[in-house]
Structures are given as C-alpha cells and as structure tokens.
C-alpha cells in the first residue's frame, strides 16, 4: 500500500517557500520553451497559410524564390491555355506577377524595413480565393493605386487606408485593405503589375512569378506534366503551399536552434533548482521518512511518494509557465524572411498540443529532479534517523 498522497500535498504546502523556488524555476523554463516554440510555429503557420493546395506557383527553372524568377509573357500565354486551370468570368485564373521590395519605415523603430511589393493582374483576387477585401476596394488596372494586407497599416508608416505615398518615383494611393487569413500576403503591398514595371523602368514582358488557380488539387499533376513537356517552357512548377513551406525553413530553424539552446540551458538550471528543493525536503523530513519505514512502508513506497511530490511541484510549475505565456498568443511581431529578403509580420501561435508539450517537459524535469533525492530518502539508514541523527 502506498504512502497517502495527502502527506505529500500537505508537506509541499508547509514548505511552500522552497517549493515555490522549484515551481518558479520550472515555470520560467516552460514559459521560455513554449514561447520559442510558438514563435517558430507562428512564423511557419503564417507562411504555410499563404499557400493553398489548389494553387500552383510557376517560376523560372532554377529560381528558388519569386524575386529571382523570370517568366516571359509568351510563357504566360502558354500557361493560360494549359489543362487543369480553373476559369473565371473573364478568362483563365492566371495571375502573372511582378515582385520587388521597397523600403518603408517601421512604425516600431522608425528605421526602414524592406516591404514586399507585388504587381498583380486583375485576376489576383480570383486566383487567391482565401483573400477578401475588408476595407475600400480592389485597385483599378492602369492607375497608381495600392491595396495593402491587413498587417501593413499597423507595421509600416504611411500606408493606412486612404493615404498617399511616394515610392519608386511615383505617387500612389491606398484604396483598399485585404485580409489574407494571417498569411504572408497580409504583410504585402499590391499594385498593378504593368504600372509597377513602368514606374520601376523594368521590362514589361517579364514577370517574377505566375500563380494559377487549379480546378482541384488533383489537377496539379496534369497541369505540371503538360507544361513541363512543352519545350518552349523553361519553368519550375510547385504547389503554392509547398513553396511557402520551404520558405519558412530557414527562419524556423534559426528560432528553434537558438530557442532550443536557451531552453535546454534553462532546463538544466531548473532541474538543479528542483533537486535542491527535494534534497532539502528529504533532509528536513528524515525523521518522518524513517518513521514511515519503521512502521513498515517499504523503500519502493518512499521512492514513489517523493517522486510523486516532485512531479506535483513540477506540474504546478508547468501550468504556471503556460499560463504566463498564454497572453502572448496572437501578439504580432515581425522578422525578416531570409528567402524574400522582406519583412514579414507574424503572430505567436500557441496551440493546445504546444501547451501539452510544455507540461510534459515540466514533468520530465520534475522526474529528473525528484528521483535522486527520492532514492536517497529510501536508502538512508532507518535507525539513526529515527532519533533525529
């Protein structure tokens, strides 16, 4: 029969000031751990949300990013006739786009950040069905008008709805705001592709990328095969969602690596804290422990009892850590997307599985910090301890 758990519960409560130390140590570590993971998760989610499975991205062969791409007007025309492409009211849902970056001052620091500017075709909204205009209207072709993603106005200065802004040598009007469902597009500024190329004095028959909307995700293979087989085409085709998923890798690995280093070091510190707390608990309660063993509770019960106590403390620590970082959920921050060289706004994303990971991490730390002292408690000679020696 086990030592009653009420013994551990009450003992922890009585020695609360040293239990608090272990709790806080574990809470801090779990907090940092969950925060880091949710940062990486948020970054990745933002990028992954940018692509859908029924859109395909066409880039020049060998280009690994839109900015490096070059698809000619002739190739665009061939794409428009390819099988598998959905058709809208005004023709095939193909959007040939010019992508570049321009510096705008960040509201948060006042210094410039590179913003991704996308010159789009009139079909852009139809191609990307997950985007919706939430303020104003879509831009009209042929004019120096802009529609911006919902994160833009809050991140960069001078790009609010209705503002007039100068860049590239021309004056532009922000006529609308679109919501892209928390994806990379929310950090972009869109203009008419032809107008953009003119203003930037770029050749008007070359586009950085082409996005097509397929009839269904399964149509991808048919589309890809037909286009790749055509000798006039020098392109790479990938599902939009895969392209964005690959983009997230560099930044995600930076955050995870650095965050991982910090979390592991902190975890070691937290385990030390837990060990300290439990060792001193065993030391202070050596007479009680000896009494229990004299009464007939075996070594196994003692080990189990103190391990449970350590797990209780670490569980509380884990919960506290999770609760403390929970308000971060949805907090928007920004970082540079190394692949596009442009600034990307994204939010911390804390999910239940992430929180569960945090709790498990806490329990593991509690186990490591609780087992050695528990074993020591069971191995102390009973007789001298009975007399308080």
């Amino acid at each position: 029969m086990a030592i009653p758990v009420v013994y551990n519960l009450r003992s922890v409560r009585q020695r609360w000031n040293s239990s608090i130390v272990a709790v806080l140590g574990i809470a801090g570590t779990v907090g940092v751990f969950v925060a880091m993971l949710s940062l990486a998760h948020g970054f990745k989610a933002t990028l992954v949300a940018s692509g859908t499975t029924d859109n395909a991205l066409v880039l020049r062969a060998g280009a690994n990013a839109e900015m490096n791409g070059a698809v000619t007007l002739d190739e665009v025309r061939i794409l428009q006739d390819a099988p598998g492409i959905a058709r809208g009211a005004n023709g095939p849902l193909v959007s040939a786009e010019a992508v570049m970056i321009a510096p705008f001052p960040l509201i948060s620091t006042g210094t410039d950040a590179n913003v991704q500017i996308r010159g789009v075709s009139p079909t852009a909204l139809e191609v990307r069905k997950t985007l919706k205009i939430v303020e104003g209207r879509f831009l009209q072709p042929g004019l120096t008008e802009l529609v911006v993603g919902r994160n833009v106005a809050g991140t960069y200065a001078g790009l609010k709805m209705g503002s007039e802004v100068r860049f590239g040598g021309a004056t532009w009007h922000v006529v609308g705001v679109f919501d892209a469902g928390g994806s990379a597009f929310d950090s972009e500024v869109w203009a008419d592709a032809h107008v953009l190329n003119q203003v930037y004095k770029r050749p008007d028959n070359i586009f950085q990328s082409v996005t097509v909307h397929l009839t269904s995700p399964d149509a991808m293979q048919q589309f890809k095969d037909k286009v790749s087989a055509d000798p006039r085409m020098n392109v790479d085709i990938d599902r939009e969602v895969n392209y964005y998923s690959k983009q997230s890798q560099t930044m995600t690995s930076i955050i995870t690596t650095l965050g991982g280093i910090v979390a592991i070091i902190m975890a070691i510190g937290a385990v030390f804290g837990a060990l300290n707390t439990m060792y001193s608990a065993v030391s202070e309660r050596s007479r009680e422990i000896a009494t229990l063993r004299a009464l007939g509770f075996g070594a196994g019960s003692v080990v189990f009892s103190f391990t449970v106590e350590a797990l209780l403390i670490s569980f509380v620590g884990g919960v506290v850590g999770c609760l403390v970082v929970l308000p971060l959920n949805g907090f928007t921050t920004g970082a540079m997307n190394w692949q596009t060289f442009s600034h990307l706004a994204f939010a911390f994303k804390i999910t239940p599985p992430l929180l569960l990971q945090g709790i498990i991490f806490a329990l593991v730390m509690g186990l490591i910090g609780g087992l050695p002292p528990a074993i020591r408690a069971a191995r102390r000679p009973v007789a001298p301890a009975l007399r308080g020696l």
């Binding site: 009420v6 009464l295 075996g298 070594a299 007399r387």
Partner: protein
C-alpha cells in the same frame, strides 16, 4: 517468564541466542553486544537500563528488525528474523512490532487520526474497518476527542499517547519503547506509564522498554541491565557490584 541465561525454551514469544553486534566508529571496532541471550513470554513487561553507549538502543533496533546482528539469532513468534531479506523484514515489522519513541515521531502534516491509521494502510483492511480500529485505539489512550487535531495542537503527553495508539492499532506481537517518557514531565510520564501498564495487565501486551528513569523501570515486571555486551538481571547486578565490578548506580525493585 524472562530469562537471560539462555535457559528458556524455544516456545518463548521472543527467543534470542548468542547475539553479537559490532560496528566501526572512527576506525575502531566496537563490540557492543556479545553473546546476549534473552527469552520473553507473552504478557511480560521488561525494562532495559544501562549507561549511555552500552547498547540498549542497538538491542532494541535488532529486536525490532531495524538492524541485523553480526552473529546469533532472534526468533519472534516462531519467525527467525536474523536472515530475512530487507523486504520481508519490512513486512514482518509492520505485522509484529509497535514502536513508541522518545520524540514521538508523529508526521506533523497528518492529523492524530491519520497518524494512527498509517500502520493499517499496510494491511488489506477496508476504509471502514480501518476507521473502526483507529477509533478503538484512540479510545484506549483516551484521545477520542482529539482525533482531528494536528500534532502541534497537542501537548507532549497527548502526542505520546497518539504514538501509543499508533503502536497498538494493528495489534502487534510486542511493543518496543525507546525512552517513552524521556521528554515528559513527571505527571505526564506517570500517565503514560499507567496507560502502558493497563495494556500489559488488561490486554496481555508484551512490552520491551528502554529507560534511564528508575521510577519508570520500577513499574516493569523485570529490569535488565546491559553490562559488557550481555543482559544481567538487576538483582544479580547488585551482587556483581559487591564483587567489585564497576557499574552505574542503579537500583531496581527487582522482579515483580
């Protein structure tokens, strides 16, 4: 019937033969018990006395299965405990021994009821059955109205009574008491001794008690002294003193 000369029969409740215990302190080998014999029957009340360091506590630890001898045998109710494994010894202890310590050794975060209940948790009794035993035990020691108090809310004497209740609650074969009145004032000490005597007389409990208090030892049936590693009856010690052997000034009322 208590004997120390090895002449008791194997049918005694506690049967000790040729007990040796040596240990090492600071590099020296100390032979604290040598060739000790003891026979105790059910219902006997034995007091152990002796100068500090004479090995009384060591003897108690050995009898209670908290320690193993260097040589010799200890048999209790037919079980030879000297070669039992640690695990078996723990179980044996739970079933056969009731401990009463000088420092009470109650768990401070548990109530009197919960402290007394502890030994029963090692049995297969149901919650209701346990409750019955605990209430009975607390009733015997006269603390029924303090069941839900914590040790810090009890006086020294009351704490010791809880310890006694805990010691008897599982109806052990014998009670081992290590200076049970050592920390109490005269009045409380008397109360505790009266309680123990009741247990001996009315419930035929077997009690082995270490004490340094002659008035306490007086209440026992027999007082034994530890001398040169073995047990000697008090009256015989008187004789040994007259023969010129050194000893502490101990008087004993002799066997009762």
């Amino acid at each position: 019937m208590v004997r120390v000369d090895g002449s008791g029969s194997a049918s005694s409740l506690i049967h000790v033969r040729g007990l040796d215990k040596k240990y090492y302190r600071g590099g020296e080998e100390i032979h604290v018990l040598q060739g000790l014999n003891l026979d105790v029957d059910q219902g006997d009340f034995v007091a152990f006395m002796g100068p500090s360091g004479s090995g009384k506590t060591t003897l108690l630890n050995l009898l209670g299965g908290l320690d193993v001898p260097s040589a010799g045998s200890i048999t209790v109710a037919g079980d030879e405990i000297t070669h039992m494994s640690r695990g078996n010894l723990t179980e044996w202890r739970a079933r056969h021994v009731g401990f009463v310590f000088q420092m009470y050794n109650l768990i401070p975060v548990l109530t009197a009821f919960q402290n007394v209940e502890l030994p029963l948790l090692l049995t297969k009794l149901s919650k209701t059955e346990r409750r019955k035993h605990v209430e009975t035990a607390l009733g015997v020691v006269g603390l029924s109205d303090r069941m839900n108090h914590f040790p810090r809310q009890l006086s020294g004497g009351q704490e010791q009574r809880v310890t006694i209740a805990r010691a008897i609650v599982s109806d052990p074969t014998f009670l081992l008491c290590d200076e049970p009145t050592g920390d109490l004032d005269r009045k409380s000490a008397d109360e505790i001794m009266a309680l123990i005597l009741t247990l001996v007389k009315q419930d035929k409990k077997t009690v082995l008690m270490v004490t340094h208090d002659p008035q306490v030892a007086d209440r026992a049936d027999v007082t034994l002294h530890l001398n040169k590693g073995a047990l000697v009856e008090a009256s015989k010690l008187e004789g040994a003193r007259l023969e010129g052997t050194r000893s502490e000034g101990v008087t004993s009322g002799g066997a009762r």
